[in-house]
Amino acid sequence: MASATNGGESYNFKVVLLGEGCVGKTSLVLRYVEDKFNSKHISTIQASFLNKKINLDGNRVNLAIWDTAGQEKFHALGPIYYRSSNGAVLVYDITDEDSFQKVKSWVKELRKMLGVDISLVIVGNKSDLEKDRHVTLEEAKEYAEKVKALHFQTSAKLNEGVEDMFLALTQKMLDDAKKKKAQENLLIGQNSQRTVTVVDDEAETTKRGCCGSN
């Protein structure tokens, strides 16, 4: 199943961004995927799809990224996007305590629905607005550690920490995937419930479900 090319392998990971409205999810993704920042862009309706190909330690990784809408109203459709995700980026705005609480409730929901099968990174965005900070770094880090999530501070505006954050998450998903594969090799014949899709470059392996795949 793994397509080995020159020693490296190809992976296809699904990543979902979650967090309150206006914390900068779209800004982060656009910064990462297109290296753009626009102080005025439109609010997200439901979810937008983007992708990015990267090379990490000789592994070719394709990130399929779902940037979801922050409004509470759309929350009911959240499962469609996080189901079968390999990673989640939970974003808050460091100037908005409320948005940090929202991250906590997402963590609860994700852990409950998906257990530890999903790699989490908690991201405090708008680090350029230090003077208006309402969520301390210590508090956020401590919480992230407690729930076994990575933690990063970013500024989509100044392009600080964005790439590092996505790379660290990818690394974690990669490690998990490899670990999982090693386990699977032990239990030959056993079907694991949710695994990373290892793909041939072109044809993506069809997985269960529809919204969840890729």
Binding site: I42, S43, F49, H75, L77, D98
Partner: protein, 467 residues
Amino acid sequence: MDGENDKSSFWKKNVKTVPGRPSPKRDGKTSSKGKTPTSTSFQDFQASVSDAWDMDDDEFCVISGLENTKISKRVSQSAAINVLNTHRCTTEVESPPEEQVTTDKQLLPNCDNSAKVNRIPGRPKQLHCLNPPQEEDSESKLERFLTLLENPPSLQELCKLSWSGIPVKVRGITWRLLSGYLPINIERRDGVLERKRKDYWTLVEKYYYTEHDETNRDIQHQINIDVPRMNPSIPLFQQKTVQLMFERILFIWSIRHPASGYVQGINDLVTPFYVVFLQEFIPDSSSFETFNVTELTEDQRKIIEADSFWCLSKFLDGIQDNYVFAQIGIQKKVLQLEELIKRVDEPLHRHLKQHNVCYLQFSFRWLNNLLTRELPLRCTIRLWDTYLAENDSFATFQLYVCAAFLLYWKEDLLQEHDFQGLLLLLQNLPTQSWTSSQVSVLVAEAYKLKVMFADAPNHLQSNSGDS
């Protein structure tokens, strides 16, 4: 979703204080009263407002006891699970064992791959001679409008004429008439307009410029973060005065519709009305995109705002279930869209499915924002001509428009051979250079679909999980 009668689970946000949030606007005028409006006092107020509207014009969607409704974790979770199940069973079952619908089969003869003759490729051949209302040259059209509007027009005739596009000069008045805001009866018009405009400003005084309770603060917050991000490429919408007008319209609409409240995207639906009513006051030569609204008198601005509000309200009445909890109306329409495409263009449907594309992933936004996010503003306005002319059947017509829109891109979609290519295309369809003529093609195609399925009202339900 089995949402039809499920009014018990209307959405209510967790209410909590919002530290660090911009506080709601208080212009001092009435804030000293500091009274928190409740929906009860609002109903009282509503009852006391003498109303010029026809009977059903002003349904107030105040659901009794709403303010005490809490959605428990369990309920909201089970709603989420329902959502998942609905979409899982309709998407994972690749091909239903038997075609369930038999009655209307003969209506859909050529649902095969062969028909590639139309401008929109891959469409079934036409069954009857389906001639949607014709586009005509604008001069003579304007004249026909002027003649029609001279006397009290019959609404039917007005719809017919408007369906294929309304000239800018008469668009404002025609939209008011079509949305049922302006009475057909000419003698009544001035009185009604004056009263409704006054009513709007009374609502604003009473509910906008007062202390908000927590729910309303949440609404206000969401509106405040959305409005500045609206139409970023058009300078008009960056003006503070314009943004304040939108904020008031949206806030008043939201508190009058507590079952849905404000949903992201509704702001985009105000835009066409706003622009059309604004255009009535700006000189022919200047473009609205860069117009400075402070050049208008205060009275003029008040008219634009109040009329946008009332017309928006009428417009959204038919599609309110799009915006209630879990957006059941939209979910249903997504399923119907899928069903429709499956029937009229099986190859395209199969292509999407083969690459694991879910209709929800692209058409939710189409439906939630009525294509405003997919089309340039000038095209949206042209599309609204038809929507308003469709009147009560607009809610279903919208579905056919989405179907026609998807079919329009068939060739491009078939060129894409993976999920990513498809999704990126579907979410960024190249319509930048569209003009009203593409919209006319679009609605004409939608019209054909509508006629084709009009005799088979049940077919869309066949597989849409309306259990």
